[in-house]
């Protein structure tokens, strides 16, 4: 990575005896869009609030553009932030809200008016300048909050679950809009979310957090396809986990419910006799033996859920249940519960969880 624009170094945060962030490290390149993804209480918002200056780290430092900002007050950091609850000032119009930071910075009225008009154009709400926040929908309010955050041209943009309070349709359109504005302005952005689809769809990189630590930092492709830990594998996407036992470490043979699969080259460090957790994404599994798939297991259809374009099938293999999705085909009836069935996959798609 080139010289990082934002560098979070060995940051720890404790509230009394409770440590909520533990040795958190992250470098963010200029103009990069990084998401903090994790369940509630994993510390993602606390890290964001430390970058914003609302919380002071118990240890470690935060550097932005080469300057240590760890002890600076929030109003001295030149950072923009969008909150989950919009946080528009109810007594001010849309234009006054967007111009708030500019006025505080002492800009002249014509300059403020011009920048506010520019921002309203960017968020595609030019006709809303004189409205009050209560006269806007949730999506519009959050757009205004975004415009207000970027109007003073901050060095860094922080988004704290900005889409959580919106309905599903608005959420999808607004996240695309946020990403497009971010790319257009080239502003380095940290986005906090617990929604994996959101994180996967708009991020350059994702930091998956758990228990106050970054479990894995990587591109959405890496996070989804090569999860580094069991938690990441389980948290991101749907995963089938099978317990297996190494029968021959040298040749990569693993026994899954008395059936053998070959995982050559994937068992680094495992010895014969070790038990392993093996994981497969539903989309990597096919019903029946398919050409190109070098591994297969036999079982029985346990459940069939018709979802329209997709049919979700659960196949019982010994004590495990494996989910897979097949496309609906109007000429082929769905599988029947209780039927014997084989599933096949490429052993290269199987993940060994540590």
């Amino acid at each position: 990575m080139a010289e990082p624009f934002l560098s979070i170094q060995h940051v720890r945060k404790s509230f009394g005896a409770t440590t909520v962030v533990e040795d958190f490290n992250l470098d963010v390149a200029p103009g990069e869009f990084v998401s903090f993804l994790g369940p509630s209480g994993c510390g993602k918002t606390t890290v964001l609030r430390m970058v914003a200056g609302f919380e002071e780290p118990s240890a470690g430092k935060i550097v932005v553009g080469g300057k240590d900002i760890t002890r600076l007050k929030p109003n001295q950091r030149n950072v923009g932030m969008v909150f989950q609850a919009y946080a528009l000032f109810p007594n001010l119009t849309v234009a006054q809200n967007i111009g708030f930071g500019l006025k505080v910075a002492g800009m002249s009225k014509p300059a403020i008016d011009s920048r506010v008009a520019e921002m309203l154009d960017i968020i595609k709400l030019p006709q809303m300048a004189d409205r009050y926040p209560y006269q806007l929908s949730g999506g519009q309010q959050q757009r205004i909050a975004l415009a207000r955050a970027i109007a003073p041209k901050p060095k860094l943009l922080l988004l704290d679950e900005p889409l959580s309070a919106l309905d599903a349709k608005v959420r999808v359109s607004l996240r695309e809009e946020i990403r497009s504005i971010q790319k257009k302005l080239g502003i380095t952005t940290i986005f906090v979310t617990h929604d994996q689809e959101e994180a996967l769809s708009i991020s350059d990189r994702i930091a998956v957090m758990y228990g106050g630590r970054a479990e894995q930092v990587g591109t959405p492709f890496e996070i989804y396809n090569r999860p580094a830990t069991k938690f990441v594998a389980n948290f991101v996407g749907t995963l089938n986990v099978l317990e297996g036992k190494v029968t021959d470490a040298a040749s990569g043979k693993v026994q899954v419910n008395s059936q053998e699969v070959s995982l050559k080259g994937k068992l680094n460090g495992s010895k014969s006799g070790d038990t392993l957790s093996l994981a497969l994404r539903p989309e990597a599994i096919s019903l029946g033996r398919q050409p190109g798939h070098d591994a297969s297991l036999s079982g029985e259809i346990a459940e069939v859920h018709f979802l329209g374009s997709v049919i979700r099938v659960r196949v019982g293999i010994g004590g495990n249940t494996v989910s897979l999705d097949t496309f609906n085909n109007s000429t082929t009836p769905p599988p029947v519960v209780g039927d014997k069935a084989d599933i096949s996959f490429s052993s290269g798609d199987m993940l060994v969880l540590h």
């Binding site: 914003a52 200056g53 609302f54 007050k73 929030p74 109003n75 950091r77 030149n78 950072v79 923009g80 932030m81 909150f83 609850a85 919009y86 946080a87 528009l88 000032f89 109810p90 007594n91 708030f100 930071g101 505080v104 910075a105 009050y132 926040p133 209560y134 806007l136 929908s137 949730g138 999506g139 309010q141 207000r148 955050a149 003073p152 309070a165 919106l166 309905d167």
Partner: protein, 263 residues
């Protein structure tokens, strides 16, 4: 259902009668100064009395200073407690209720003992200082109303997020309080201010014992020596109080509407 409604009306009429009959009787009596005819003579005498005008103006000025002092003390205190010290709220609420429990006469005797001319803070040494002490005393008496009004106003907005939103946009504490917090609780502050005004206008004990020319002692003096004028004064004082309440109602319609509810 109809029986229920009947009894509801009976209770309402009895309650209204309990409230309005003395008021109507007082108003009627205040207009009987001229024998055999209703007139506003008592009102003319009262309103034309130089002492009425002087004491009323004195109390109005005292009320304005009390409101300013109350706002300067209560708004930042209530804001800070909501923002940073929520654990102190029960204690502060208790303290603000004390003026309802401790009689004004006890407070004012305390003042007289504490701030006499030999005290390091000789509030009673001259008129200006005594006026200041009276305003401080009034601010204490109105504390339960002012604090509750402001605290209720703060409850309707997301104080913490609005503060953080303003901070991250570069605002300092004074900007946050004057441009974000105060405008959003202004109606609540005004409610507290009008309640304070109503209390100060009619207050007797403190003004009397500190020997200040306020409206309360004047009311008492007129009541002790005249027949019709006290009734007229009672109606005037009642009208002022109700005027304040009506203003609160009217102004509350202009309160900034909260937009923090996600749709």
């Amino acid at each position: 259902m109809k029986t229920g409604r009947f009894w509801a009306w009976v209770v309402f009429i009895l309650g209204a009668a309990y409230f309005f009959i003395p008021l109507i009787a007082t108003a009627e009596f205040s207009m009987r100064m001229r024998r055999g005819a209703y007139s506003f003579d008592a009102y003319q005498i009262v309103l034309g009395d130089a002492r009425f005008q002087a004491t009323f103006m004195y109390s109005v000025v005292a009320a304005i200073f009390t409101i300013i002092l109350g706002v300067l003390v209560v708004v930042p205190a209530a804001y800070w407690i909501r923002l940073r010290l929520p654990q102190l709220r029960p204690i502060v609420e208790f303290i603000t209720l004390l003026p309802l429990v401790i009689p004004a006469i006890v407070i004012v005797f305390g003042y007289i003992r504490m701030y006499g001319s030999n005290s390091p803070l000789p509030f009673l040494a001259n008129d200006t200082a005594t006026n200041a002490l009276l305003v401080i005393g009034y601010a204490t008496l109105s504390l339960p109303y002012m604090y509750r009004a402001v605290d209720t106003g703060l409850r309707t907005i997301d104080v913490r997020t609005l503060t953080e939103a303003a901070q991250i946009l570069g605002a300092g504490w004074s900007t946050i309080i004057t441009r974000v917090i105060l405008p959003n609780v202004l109606i609540a502050v005004l409610s507290g201010a009008f309640l304070t005004f109503a209390i100060v206008i009619g207050e007797f004990t403190m003004a009397s014992l500190l020997n200040r020319p306020a409206f309360g002692p004047y009311l008492q003096n007129i009541g002790a020596n005249r027949a019709y004028e006290p009734a007229a004064l009672a109606i005037i004082a009642f009208a002022i109080t109700w005027g304040c309440m009506s203003l609160i109602q009217i102004l509350s319609r202009f309160a900034p509407k909260s937009a923090n509810r996600p749709n």
